[in-house]
Amino acid sequence: MGIISKLPVFTENLPGGGLVTTSLNQILTMTQAKSLWYLLFGTACCAIELMATGASRYDFDRLGMIFRASPRQSDLMIVAGTVTYKMAPIVKRLYDQMAEPRYVLAMGGCAIGGGPFYYDSYSVLRGIDKIIPVDVYVPGCPPRPEALLQGCLEVGKKLRTQKLEDWSGPKNESR
């Protein structure tokens, strides 16, 4: 009954227990927010902080976050590091390969807006939001693991507000 009592307002606890009514949307987003698998996309030094976050001291796994090497198994793409113009089409393609609902977290100055390479650079994309929609920005150069954890919790919060119908069909194109 521990989990059931935490379920949102649509829950009905019938006498005797054992039966719960809720919306599919609620149960799905709740489970999704608790197992946010992310696509490993470390392109620069932010990836080191990402590794530190995944290692035992900060322990990403306790948030239910496990890295996947395949975009098709991922819910969240953590872009950790500098993205160059040469890399940009690959980021876009990986995003397109992710199954919906999908979220993007831009980690660090480079992924947010080019970072230290904003001026006088011929090769660096000024922010990945030029090519894919970004849900959460985590600033820092690089951000500390705590900041990344906070960002992932923010993704979880945003995920809880999603509606299933938002993700179905061609409506998503306008996103």
Binding site: Y85, K86, Y118, Y119, D120, S121, Y122, S123, R126
Partner: protein, 156 residues
């Protein structure tokens, strides 16, 4: 051989013209005429006393006045190394490949060709590998180059 001995050995045994650059580093430094790039490389690569069989680094340079190529071979047999550079013709930057002597030069020369636009005669595989494949915006590492995507640093 210590650096002084190395300098003396090379200048006395190489048939072509060499200019020695005095410096306070641990390695000798030569300026080689452009036409002697391959003969000099061959000499230091094959000479049994030198055997500089490994190219540690190779880079193009644009000083603003002239184009240069700097090479940094070393010997894994005798544990010694040196620097030498050639000065290219600014109007028609071009040099012969040394990738048949040092295999490492293959990628270094591709990089120089890509980022500086120096023509490299005899290179077996001149293809892009750093810039995007459809790049048509000039040579980013040349002085004074301003590309389409560059946002210049604002004046203070």
């Amino acid at each position: 051989m210590n650096p002084a001995e190395l300098t003396a050995y090379i200048t006395s045994n190489f048939s072509g013209q060499l200019e020695t650059v005095e410096n306070d580093q641990a390695e000798p430094y030569f300026i080689v005429p452009l036409s002697d790039l391959v003969p000099f490389s061959k000499f230091i690569h094959d000479d049994p006393q030198l055997e500089l069989n490994y190219l540690m680094n190779m880079a193009g340079v644009d000083t603003g006045e002239q184009f240069e190529v700097v090479l940094n071979p070393c010997s894994l047999v005798n544990m010694q190394r040196l620097f030498f550079k050639v000065v290219l013709d600014r109007g028609d930057p071009k040099f012969d490949t040394v990738s048949n002597l040092w295999a490492a030069a293959n990628w270094y020369e591709r990089e120089i060709w890509e980022l500086y636009g120096f023509e490299i005669t005899g290179h077996p595989n001149l293809k892009r590998f750093l810039l995007p494949d459809d790049w048509d915006d000039g040579f980013p590492l040349r002085k004074g180059w301003v590309g389409k995507n560059v946002i210049p640093l604002p004046e203070k």
